[in-house]
């Protein structure tokens, strides 16, 4: 199959405008004849559902939480980028485009990324009109900050709760359409499969999480806005329920999965404190604007620290190694996430980690407090410092914070074309669930931008192109394909319930997470990945013979919900390993130890790997088939990323 990205011809800056003109339209009176299913109510899903309903389509929106307002997007802290250039500091659509392509280590499509930068400005207007209370300056205009290594101030924020405020904005728009009768909400409902009729996505099968009822929903198009799959690592900064099930089931029905191994490890998270740990907490990256990252200069000092013989404040200036400032004088503590994370790993691997487990580095505000005063630092980061204190019991105004990298975001996802359609006609993927815009590494404050761009400003145009050329006939849910899919879903659940083995679901999830973190995490090798593959296969076999899933299907059943999700993570894990293994280069978050520069930086191989990997599922127990979408760069020159 030739993967056609459908990027329009012509100059970069005209592509989207031209495309919007060329796509087919569904006339206003006909829109009500089309039904659209939106799975997920995060930024991507809520904005898409609301916007499509406003246009006149009939929308059904699904989420597994008890309310659409609780989607994982709610947890985003730092901010959202937009090329408004309100600060007059040299920003532009082109600069945001360029930064995003470069930040992604040249593994994203120019056309998509340019469009993202272009519509970013509309997002801010939209959110303000909804009543999103962004931070403002005393003159009453919007405030910006520099974020995640950007050299301009283009990040808009609402205290440390930007994701919450953006999501509540989208949720309010969604709620308005529920009141108008154009959206029907299905909370506490999990999508279990896509239903294909005549080669097109025509609906989904769901499980009602309260009653266990397996139900079908029919539509003319299905949008998966189901978020990322970072929880394959068990420990991540994602919400507990985040999962890959919707995307994975679609993959098994024919949607190609792209760059699954491109995972972002965020450098500033609270370190693991023990085996009981259920998730990791992110400390916003904005802290790196003022905090200085360091470890002791020698292993001996670090050992004393770990044994509690000395404290951080006892260590003299000359005995500290501000390793990011030392290695990257021009970017210093603001190097991109992958670079910051990898360097934290290096210094800890050398034995210079600063907590009991040896897996932590300091993020120190001493100098910033001396320079600006405690009040200024408190105004900027007060709520983050409080959160840190709440979780660790330490006071960051007095002792440096301890941080360590953790899994945070997945750049990989379902392959989509310029219209956000997957390889299954009528099936779309938006937000973190698709692979499209961040290449091998996402810049800070760009996921919120992408989710809302997809939902508010891309899909409302592109979906019409598909629907206009498809008949408005409805397919009833007693169609044999729906019945068949329902039966497959029920059978799988019954199978999980019938194993009655000896190990809990979490046992398997934790084991999988450890394999992924050890061998498919921050640094990867051929040897490690090969080992991981065998281990995952083994674990999967054990899961299907020895897991103990309690209770029955006909009730609220956490154990069954988890087992169902973990069964998919086990399959995804194997594909991630395959993907990491085949890509014999390092790029962005994908770091293969065999491929590095003499200075230890990621070494790309543009000649052989400047493509999107798109994997096709061939059947149970079979190796997946690799397809390649070549990446064509007409506007930017591929260079070795340098932050020195």
């Amino acid at each position: 199959m030739i993967l056609d990205s459908k990027i329009p011809e012509g100059p970069l800056a005209d592509k989207w405008t031209k495309h919007k003109f060329n796509v087919k339209l569904v006339n206003p009176a006909n829109k009500r004849k089309y039904d659209v299913i939106v799975v997920g109510t995060g930024l991507a899903g809520a904005s898409a559902a609301a916007s499509l309903a406003e246009l006149g389509y009939n929308v059904k929106a699904f989420c597994f939480q008890d309310s659409p307002r609780r989607a994982h997007s709610i947890a985003a802290q730092g901010g959202i980028n937009a090329a408004k250039n309100y600060q007059n500091d040299g920003d532009s659509v082109y600069r945001l485009f360029y930064d995003t392509i470069k930040g992604g280590d040249y593994r994203a499509r120019e056309g998509n990324v340019y469009r993202l930068a272009e519509v970013s400005v509309n997002i801010i207007d939209q959110c303000v009109a909804q009543g999103v209370p962004f931070a403002r300056e005393y003159g009453g205009l919007l405030a910006n900050r520099s974020f995640g290594g950007a050299q301009v101030s283009r990040t808009f924020y609402a205290k440390g709760q930007t994701g919450q405020q953006l999501l509540l904005g989208a949720y309010s728009a969604l709620s308005r359409q529920v009141a108008n009768g154009k959206v029907k909400l299905y909370p506490r409902t999990e999508m279990m499969d896509v239903v294909m009729i005549d080669g097109k996505a025509r609906g989904i099968v769901t499980r009602n999480l309260i009653t266990g009822a397996i139900e079908s929903h029919s539509a003319h198009a299905v949008l998966l806005c189901t978020g990322g799959y970072g929880n394959v690592f068990f420990l991540s900064t994602n919400a507990m329920g985040s999962n890959v099930t919707a995307a994975w089931r679609a993959h098994k029905k024919g949607a190609f999965f792209s760059n699954p191994s491109f995972t972002q490890i965020h450098p500033t998270c609270i370190p693991v404190s023990g085996d009981h740990q259920s998730k990791l907490t992110l400390m916003s990256e904005s802290l790196r604007n003022d905090g200085r990252v360091w470890v002791p200069a020698t292993v001996e000092t670090a050992e004393k620290l770990r044994k509690g013989q000395i404290t951080a404040n006892d260590i003299k200036e000359e005995d500290r190694d501000y390793y990011l400032e030392r290695k990257y004088p021009s970017f210093g503590n603001l190097v991109p996430r992958d670079v910051a994370s990898r360097n934290a790993k290096y210094v800890c691997d050398e034995g210079r980690g600063v907590n009991e487990t040896g897996e932590a580095v300091f993020l120190d505000f001493r100098d910033a407090i001396k320079r600006d005063g405690r009040n200024v630092i408190e105004a900027k980061y007060g709520n983050l410092f409080d959160m840190y204190m709440q979780i660790t019991g330490d006071n960051p105004y007095e002792v440096p914070m301890m941080i360590y990298p953790a899994v945070h975001y997945t750049m990989g996802g379902l392959w989509v074309d310029y219209n956000l359609m997957t390889t299954i006609p009528g099936l779309y993927a938006l937000g973190e669930a698709n692979f499209s815009d961040h290449g091998a590494n996402r810049l800070g404050a760009s996921a919120l931008m992408q989710g809302l761009a997809d939902g508010y400003f891309v899909i409302p145009y592109t979906i019409g192109d598909y629907l206009a050329s498809n008949s408005a006939d409805r397919i009833p849910v007693d169609h044999p394909e729906f019945k068949k899919a329902e039966k497959e879903v029920s059978d799988r659940l019954q199978k999980l319930l019938s194993i009655k083995g000896e190990k809990t679901v979490d046992y398997f999830h934790k084991k999988l997470g450890k394999i992924m973190w050890d061998y498919c995490g921050m640094a990867r090798t051929e040897e490690g990945l090969t080992k991981a593959k065998a281990m995952i296969k083994e674990l999967k076999k054990e899961f299907w013979t020895n897991v103990n899933v309690l209770g029955s299907n006909e009730e609220l059943n956490l154990s069954l919900e988890k087992a169902n999700r973990v069964s998919d993570f086990l399959e995804l894990g194997e594909l991630m390993v395959d993907d990491a293994l085949h890509r014999n280069e390092s790029c962005g978050g994908h770091f293969r130890e065999e491929y590095q520069t003499p200075e230890g930086e990621a070494l790309r191989d543009d000649e052989n790997f400047a493509y999107v990997a798109a994997w096709k599922y061939l059947g149970e127990g079979q190796e997946e088939e690799l397809h390649k979408e070549p990446l064509v760069f007409e506007n930017v020159k591929l260079t070795q990323r340098s932050y020195k």
Binding site: A173, K279, L556
Partner: protein, 249 residues
């Protein structure tokens, strides 16, 4: 730490429900309250007993999904969410009682899980600015004084957890509703629908069966996000000005 947990167990909405006692040992002070329950559930699962069902997702104090009435207080002894409550707030040998939110508009679905969709319906009644996607003015076209934007942000921080309702002897949803009404009444974007919004949201709140507000302040004291009771006063002003000069003709 070793603890005794008295937990409300209820099979489903129709079941009567009852307390059950569990002993749990080796709990570290660094665990969060929900991680302590994870340990209990892992123990129960290993024994083949049905785990205790409770709602949670972000575990960062922001999604509003976790709940629990712990020793007679919503979200327990500290003014945080249950997921941000840590076991260092408890001592060895403690007996901890854990119940679901108790309020008629929040029916119990299983164990500690309740249905809070009434909150969604209150927002659907008017908790928005009626603008469609596209065609809106530039974001900097209307300057908003920082003090006003900050006040609106304070109100907008509500996470919709329902602790205010659980804390109130009348099960009033005034704090929750007033937070949204205030946020939008403060901002220029919310002016056009200011009156009708207050009327409709208050009407929905009543229709859902939430009780009246008698100004005891219990909600504010238990709100994990520090939503101020002054929002209730503001909503009352909005509401009364709306009923005397309604925009609905």
């Amino acid at each position: 730490m070793n603890l005794t947990l008295k937990i409300w167990r209820q099979k489903n909405n129709a079941d009567k429900g009852d307390f059950k006692e569990y002993k749990i040992s080796d709990i570290s002070k660094d665990m969060s309250f929900l991680e302590m329950l994870d340990v209990l559930n892992e123990n129960l699962s290993e024994k083949g007993e049905d785990p205790v069902h409770f709602d949670h997702d972000c575990r960062e104090g922001i999604c509003g999904m976790c709940s629990l009435y712990i020793d007679g207080k919503p979200h327990g002894p500290q003014q945080t969410t249950t997921c941000q409550l840590h076991m260092r707030s408890f001592s060895d040998g403690d007996v901890i009682t854990i119940e679901p939110w108790r309020a008629k508009p929040f029916p119990v679905m299983k164990d500690l899980v309740v249905d809070r969709s009434a909150f969604d319906r209150i927002i659907q009644a008017g908790g928005y600015v009626s603008v469609n996607t596209g065609g809106v003015p530039d974001a900097n076209e209307i300057p908003i004084p920082k003090s006003i934007a900050d006040l609106a942000m304070d109100a907008a921080q509500c996470i919709g957890c329902g602790a205010c309702v659980a804390a109130c002897k009348n099960a009033s949803a005034m704090l929750f509703t007033s937070a949204k009404v205030s946020q939008l009444a403060l901002l220029p974007q919310g002016q056009v629908e200011r009156k009708i919004r207050a009327e409709k949201m208050v009407a929905q709140m009543d229709a859902e069966g939430f009780g009246a507000c008698t100004n005891t302040g219990a909600c504010e004291a238990e709100c994990p996000k520090g939503i101020s009771i002054t929002n209730i006063a503001r909503m009352n002003r909005e509401y009364f000005s709306a009923v005397v000069s309604s925009d609905t003709l």
